[in-house]
Amino acid sequence: MSTVYFIAQQTMYFAIPLLVVALGGMFAERSGVVNIALEGIMIVGAFFGIGFINIYQNTMTGQGLLILAVLVAALSGALFSLFHAFASINLKADQTISGTALNMFAPAFAIYTARMLQGVQQIQFMDTFYIRSVPILGDIPILGPILFKNAYITTYIGLFIALISWFVINHTRFGLRLRACGEHPQAADSVGINVYRIRYAGVIISGILAGIGGLTFVVPTSTNFNATVAGYGFLALAVLIFGQWRTNKVFAAAFFFGIMKTFASAYSGIPFLKGLPISNEVYKMIPYIATLIVLTFSSKNSQAPRAEGIPYDKGSR
């Protein structure tokens, strides 16, 4: 049973950042803007979030600091995403171009700034955020060890974001408008919705979530930030497509990938897998191969937003 708990706890570390960032991508794409800059935005969010922790960790510790850092990451992600919004909405640029530019800029900026300010590119931080067991909740049988032990507060923030996202996109007026702009912006415009404003909102939300996701990825898995989020932005993009742009499916896809990734990275802690004569690298490949296979059998009907990637031009029909 302890193995199951171990797997569940590990899965959270991988799945939550993927989930948050993929949901961010969902907001952008369902408003009609493809955001392949998720990777870059994650790096910017993590950079400013971890930088904030690095500066203030001598004056404060614990959950308060982490929550402030999450806010910093969200804000920096939002600001950075404005570049993408401006190029792809106002300038009607090809969205791959500005996304690629942002992806390239972010790690270079993080390395340059860190090295110019402190000599090395790694930004160290002390992990004072680890929660061994949440009071009361951690003692619940079964559910307690799975959800409320060996955790980080970012896990709950992530799950909360998923719930909010589901509600916003499916059950609010804003969500309906967002979806309309991604499916048929001309129709949305004809009933008085400001397509540009909605798309800006979509991209900014994706920036906020990707920024948070970047920090959420770094905090549980490392004690320094090395100007990379290990391709998680691209994986989140994959999770988004895998999840067919729907909140509940994205949730499932993120956890599918998270569990696979857990088997890959922590198999030596799982007695059953440790005994098998399989190379380390094979385990690492499994999440990607499994995703490929699942996609092969589930991609016949793509649910992509129809107007995704097409700049909205008021004059066109």
């Binding site: 794409e29 493809v34 392949i36 570049f83 190029a87 792809s88 300038l91 009607k92 640029a93 090809d94 791959t96 171009i97 500005s98 690629t100 530019a101 942002l102 992806n103 390239m104 800029f105 790690p107 270079a108 900026f109 390395i111 340059y112 090295r115 110019m116 391709g231 691209f234 994986l235 993009l237 994959a238 497509i241 895998f242 190379s279 690298e281 094979v282 690492k284 490949m285 990607y288 191969i289 995703t291 490929l292 996609l295 092969t296 059998f297 991609s299 016949k300 793509s302 992509a304 937003p305 129809r306 995704e308 990637g309 097409i310 004059g315």
Partner: protein, 393 residues
């Protein structure tokens, strides 16, 4: 009127590229000034000089940096033309690099004169196989190329790491062993010309590839079909083009180009080895920048690759002033980003220039439409992506 338009088109796209480059360099200068105002100007001059800093050795360094990224740039640009975003150049590159090294070490039975050629062909095949998977899955199962390419990048990286450890591993340095002498690309006097050992006939192979891709895209029916597929999949199917075949072949060729790039880099005899690390090959992602900067046109890609390599050499040199070479990546990203502004700039120019012609024969709606048409043809594949609904990111 048409020829006139084309003339303007060439000039405007050249001007807009120049303005994007100027903007990128300006941002670079500002960053340098902010971080260290004293050394900013000498460092900036050093970046501009780039490969011209160190005589022929500097030029050789530019060529050395340019070879892999031109190849991955060609790969990405070629797939763009068919409306596919080949983000998987990294994995194809790595597969090609590994197979080239493997053949270069293990296939000593091959006649010495053609050993390097066989190794390069092996690299192309490996890249092509790796590229074909996203193509096949997209053509037959409608799986998004972007996501399969990303997955194939990681699978390729782990597979290569595993294969290296099992076959050609130098466990002391955690990298591949050196290839046999016969597998190193012939120098053909280039090393004497440039006075350094980094150069070989690799650049000529790149030039051949550029010309071949140009001919395929612009002078053959096959290339026309690929581009038609990129513009509108449904329409090309209606026109009797086998779009499944086009997609798969496009990815196969793109993969082969990336794989060849990997082979060329690791057989260049410059002391470069694959390290066994969980790290995607960065050349694949540079290829995206090169393709975008070169507007997916083979010759544009060639020049863009040389230009980026030129800046990279400059970035390497400014470490003399204690600056961090990553500034170059920032400059390049700003240049690419300003490509978006450039599009706008181009629109304004072409509207301005074509206006007198239009006014004489048709109504006032035309200029906008024509400038739009210009955009579509200028942007090449990157723009083509908008055309069809099946391959959304």
């Amino acid at each position: 009127m048409r020829t006139k338009l084309f003339q303007y088109e060439g000039i405007t796209s050249f001007l807009s590229s120049l303005s994007a480059i100027a903007a990128g360099l300006l941002v670079g200068l500002i960053i340098l000034l902010v971080s260290n105002s004293q050394d900013a100007f000498p460092a900036f001059v050093m970046i501009l000089k780039g490969g011209f800093e160190d005589g022929s050795r500097g030029l050789a360094q530019v060529i050395y940096f340019a070879i892999p990224i031109i190849m991955t740039g060609l790969s990405v640009g070629f797939a763009f033309k068919t409306g596919l975003f080949n983000i998987g150049a990294s994995g194809q590159f790595k597969m090609g690099a590994f197979v080239a090294i493997y053949i270069g070490i293990k296939w000593s039975f091959v006649p010495e004169e053609i050993h390097w050629l066989v190794a390069l062909l092996g690299a192309m095949v490996a890249g092509a196989v790796w590229g074909s998977v996203p193509g096949i899955l997209n053509a037959f199962f409608n799986v998004n190329v972007v996501i399969t390419s990303i997955m194939m990048n990681y699978i390729g990286m782990y597979l290569v790491n595993m294969a290296i450890v099992k076959t050609v591993y130098d466990s002391l340095k955690n990298q591949t062993k050196p290839v046999l002498k016969s597998a190193v690309l012939p120098k053909a006097g280039m090393d004497k010309l440039f006075n350094t050992s980094n150069v070989s006939i690799g650049i000529f192979i790149v030039i051949i590839a550029v010309i071949a891709i140009y001919i395929i895209l612009h002078k053959t029916t096959f290339g026309y079909e690929l581009k038609a597929c990129g513009s509108n999949r449904e329409a090309s199917r209606y026109a009797g083009i086998n779009e499944k075949k086009s997609i798969i072949l496009s990815m196969v060729i793109a993969g082969a180009l990336s794989g060849l790039g990997g082979g060329l880099l690791y057989l260049s005899g410059s002391g470069k080895y694959i390290h066994v690390l969980d790290e995607l090959a960065p050349e694949g992602f540079s290829g995206i920048s090169v393709a975008l900067l070169g507007m997916s046109h083979p010759i544009g890609i060639f020049l863009a690759g040389l230009f980026i390599a030129h800046l990279e050499v400059g970035g390497f040199n400014i470490q003399l002033y204690n600056f961090v070479p990553e500034i170059i990546d920032m400059i390049i990203s700003v240049i690419i980003y300003c490509g978006a502004f450039a599009l706008l700039f181009k629109q304004i120019i072409s509207r301005f220039v074509t206006k007198p012609v239009i006014d004489t024969d048709t109504s006032g709606i035309e200029p906008a439409m024509i400038s739009q048409a210009n955009d579509t043809s200028d942007m090449g594949g990157a723009e083509d992506k908008r055309g069809h609904g099946e391959d959304k990111i």
